[in-house]
């Protein structure tokens, strides 16, 4: 690891230790104070290499994956906005759905051109909102096949924001649905190129999504080892029992493999090696699929205690399932991965 990355890792570890190593449940007010601090130290800034982005997200995710997903969502939205000159139009994080995939779902919002401006009607689901959000970046359909992203101001007339949607995990992420009734929006880039922009964002940010999953697994393993070294059953620390040792060993091996694969995939992406897209897709899918299984083992090591809010294991387990759906469901992304087999032939 070079000195820049090492400095970044140290900064993150200090930040995590100081701000995130609390009792497992923060109140919402405390979390949003931490979010402010994350902004201040530049964690939401674009311009990091993909390797450093993954480092940031993985480190954050070990302690608090809600924060990691907020950073992820912001960076993903900036990737989309970079295809236009709209970044300055929205200096603060936009409300954006990091779960939407153009190839899986048809947008629920329709856009029509009226007097030179686009007017949107319909719905947009599961957008991540922060206190700072002034705009939303949402997918919409123009006519039958013009899939496009649009930037809309959240205070525009015709927008109805739902109350926060309760979800399985990511308890500090505020997810909302929007109902739109003739809301004026600015198209991002060229109309109809939404899927292309999404795909280019996916190629980079899928590695970042994998990093969030890896962080969850790492955090779970770390807490499981710590617990197993102190908890006694059968007259000894449970880590001395071979079955527990085996479970922890399996977790360690799989996480190490994931870490190596992610690192290599990041390098392949940066160098644009032959078949880099296939590598990126394969690695990110396998890591995102693995995290729920590993965090489940992390609960099992702690037994009944792991199932309670007193420890972070159950939250990691829930988060891992939700994070699995970053940038679309695993199943559809796997089906899409099949395209690489055609290229090989």
């Amino acid at each position: 690891m070079n000195s820049h990355s090492e400095l970044l890792r140290t900064t993150l570890q200090d930040f995590s230790k100081k701000e995130l190593m609390h009792t497992p449940r923060l109140c919402e007010v405390s979390f949003y104070k931490i979010l402010e601090k994350a902004f201040e130290i530049g964690l939401f800034q674009p311009g990091f290499s993909i390797k450093d982005t993954c480092l940031i997200l993985e480190q954050l995710s070990q302690s608090n994956s809600s924060l990691a997903v907020l950073v992820f969502s912001h960076l993903a939205s900036l990737e989309i906005l970079s295809f236009s000159d709209l970044c300055e139009a929205s200096p603060t994080p936009v409300a954006f759905s990091p779960f939407f995939n153009f190839f899986e779902s048809t947008p629920l919002a329709k856009a029509t051109l009226k007097e030179g401006s686009y007017s949107l009607t319909g719905r947009s689901e599961s957008l991540l909102l922060t206190d700072h959000s002034q705009h939303a970046l949402i997918p919409a359909e123009i006519g039958r096949s013009g899939l496009t992203y649009f930037l809309i101001p959240l205070t525009a007339q015709g927008i109805k924001t739902s109350s926060p949607i309760r979800t399985l995990g990511l308890q500090y992420c505020r997810l909302i649905d929007l109902e739109l009734d003739n809301v004026l929006g600015l198209p991002v880039g060229t109309s109809g190129e939404g899927p292309l922009y999404f795909e280019q964002m996916l190629n980079r940010m899928s590695l970042a999504g994998a990093a969030v999953s890896l962080g969850l697994a790492r955090g779970s393993l770390s807490d499981a080892i710590q617990y197993a070294q102190t908890r006694q059953q059968g007259g000894r620390e449970i880590i001395q029992w071979s079955e527990i040792k085996m479970m922890l060993s399996n977790m360690t091996i799989r996480i190490k493999n994931a870490e190596l694969a992610l690192s290599q995939a990041c390098e392949a992406f940066e160098r644009k090696d032959l078949h880099w897209e296939e590598n990126v897709s394969a690695v990110s899918l396998s890591i995102q699929e693995l995290a729920p299984l590993l965090t489940s083992d992390g609960i099992q090591i702690l037994g009944g205690a792991g199932y309670t809010h007193e420890f972070k294991q159950e939250a990691r387990f829930r988060d891992a399932y939700q994070v699995q759906n970053l940038l679309g469901s695993l199943a559809f992304r796997k089906l899409r991965h099949a395209q690489f087999m055609n290229i090989r032939e």
Partner: protein, 495 residues
């Protein structure tokens, strides 16, 4: 969605069609009761109760407890001799599965009550059982529910207390001491299902914490006993309708007539060994009876996840065509269906073994079962109850239990119960994984039920002995004695 799939899952495995008609009828009645409860109470309220507890961990679902009481669920499986309705444990499995399709927390709330009944029954101290059953029956009549909880787990001893081979190494802090007229109880129990909802707490504590396997005491403590306090309700990931409580005991006096099992005052090695053997049988029997119940809950949850996946797939489209047309979706749904069926086979296999070969097999004898069904309750109470509570009755049941131990049948049903528990709970988790895979980002929204089923199911792999402990129990009861009899030095927890 049609009723066809529901009907198919409600059919018993083919091999069970040979059970007596009276039991089969009763199973149908139990399924109907659960179905009605699901439609009228569970489905409309389960998500709301789950979310209420998430926002307020001290919320207790009294309305639900009262409704289950009004419907007679706390006496349905009490012995007819003691005022209950005398339903067979087999019908309880079907009932639990059906309830489990909608909410594991609510199903566990009712099931945990009967774990307490099973524990007292396994001590063969039917006088105490009779007394407790009377209060439960009275509770149904007066509209003031009387539930039982079973208090075994301690802060430093969980797995340790679920296997006789571990218990002597446990770090126990809960203790009893003999005093004139009874026992004094001190200590804390944790993760006690229904703790905050129960009037009776069936506690296992120990006289000699250096040799707990030889000195276990099983007692019934009433909630108003001086010195007894309820601690916090544990904040759990799921099964929120069933609170898991901390119970604290400070010099709680339990009179002799509420002691179900205790070591004899004779301190000879023979007496201590005999008591150890009784405790071993007790733990094995209670777990053998409860584990198929957990497996039934798991089968219900696996079914619930499958039904939610079906519901989703019946409406979802891809490229404007039904998602159900996709082969990969069809394969996943088939896999989920198979998982439900396998879970059912497992729990029925174990449940029938325990019922027909276990310590209370006589009550499942077709003739006796049918006779009990037709005889009026007051007649059964008049002639059977005095027999059961007598010393002769207790000794005769114990003799039968020792006979079962001698021929090794108890090992068989213990192992089968473990298989059922870990298999069904793993398959239920698998179904939740598959449902979430199918549903993608829709699946993790709380207005869909699958995320709750996932959270609820996860606990099934932990309680009634972790799945790892159940694997070891299977090795101990089936594999070691039958496949490695020539290796007497091999044992479990011997590393």
């Amino acid at each position: 969605m049609t009723n066809a799939s529901t009907h198919d899952f409600d059919e018993l495995p083919f091999g069970l069609q040979g059970l007596s008609p009276a039991i089969l009828d009763e199973i149908k009645v139990a399924i109907d009761l659960a179905t009605q409860f699901n439609q009228e109470v569970v489905r409309p309220r389960a998500l709301e109760i789950d979310q209420k507890v998430e926002s307020d961990p001290n919320f207790l679902p009294w309305e639900l407890v009262n409704e289950a009481n009004r419907r007679g669920f706390y006496t349905l499986w009490l012995p007819k001799a003691f005022g209950g309705k005398g339903f067979s444990p087999l019908s309880m499995l079907a009932f639990s599965e059906k309830l489990g399709t909608e909410c594991l927390g609510i199903a566990n709330l009712i099931g945990a009550h009967y774990v307490g009944i099973a524990l007292i029954s396994a001590t063969f101290h039917f006088k105490v059982l009779q007394r407790l059953c009377k209060t439960i029956v009275d509770g149904e009549r007066t509209g003031k529910p009387c539930l039982l909880s079973t208090a075994i787990t301690e802060p430093d001893a969980g797995t340790d207390l679920e296997d006789i081979d571990l218990i002597d190494r446990a770090r126990l802090q809960c203790r009893v001491e003999r005093v004139p007229g009874g026992y004094l109880l001190n200590g804390t129990k944790v993760f006690i299902s229904n703790g905050h909802l129960s009037q009776w707490h069936i506690v296992i504590a120990h006289l000699d914490r250096k040799k707990p396997s030889e000195s276990a005491v099983v007692l019934a403590l009433y909630s108003s006993t001086p010195g007894f306090t309820l601690g916090r309700v544990e904040g759990k990931m799921g099964q929120n309708a069933c609170p898991a409580s901390v119970l604290s005991f400070e010099n709680c006096f339990i009179p002799d007539d509420l002691i179900c099992l205790s070591p004899s005052k004779d301190e000879t090695p023979e007496a201590r060994n005999a008591h150890r053997n009784l405790c071993s049988m007790l733990v094995d029997d209670v777990l053998a009876m409860s584990r198929p119940g957990v497996a039934a809950l798991a089968a219900g949850a696996a079914r619930g996840a499958f039904q939610e996946a079906l519901r989703y797939c019946s409406k979802a489209k891809i490229d404007h065509a039904p998602l159900l047309n996709q082969g990969w979706v069809q394969c996943i749904l088939a896999e989920m269906y198979k998982n439900v069926k396998l879970s059912q086979y497992c729990y029925w296999d174990a449940g029938v073994q325990v019922a027909l070969k276990g310590p209370f097999a006589l009550l499942q004898n077709p003739f006796i079962f049918s006779l009990m069904k037709v005889l009026p309750r007051n007649i059964v109470m008049s002639f059977l109850a005095p027999l059961l509570v007598s010393q002769a009755g207790k000794e005769s049941m114990l003799k039968e239990r020792l006979r079962i131990q001698k021929i090794g049948v108890d090992k068989r049903y213990s192992g089968k119960s473990s298989i059922a528990k870990f298999t069904a709970s793993d398959l239920a988790m698998e179904n939740c994984n598959l449902a979430l895979k199918l549903m993608g980002p829709t699946g993790f929204r709380k207005d869909h039920r699958v995320e709750k089923i996932l959270r609820d199911v996860r606990l099934l792999q932990i309680y009634e002995g972790t799945n790892q402990l159940n694997h070891i129990n299977l090795f101990k009861t089936h594999i070691l004695p039958h496949l490695f009899p020539q290796l007497p030095t091999v044992g479990v927890f011997n590393e």
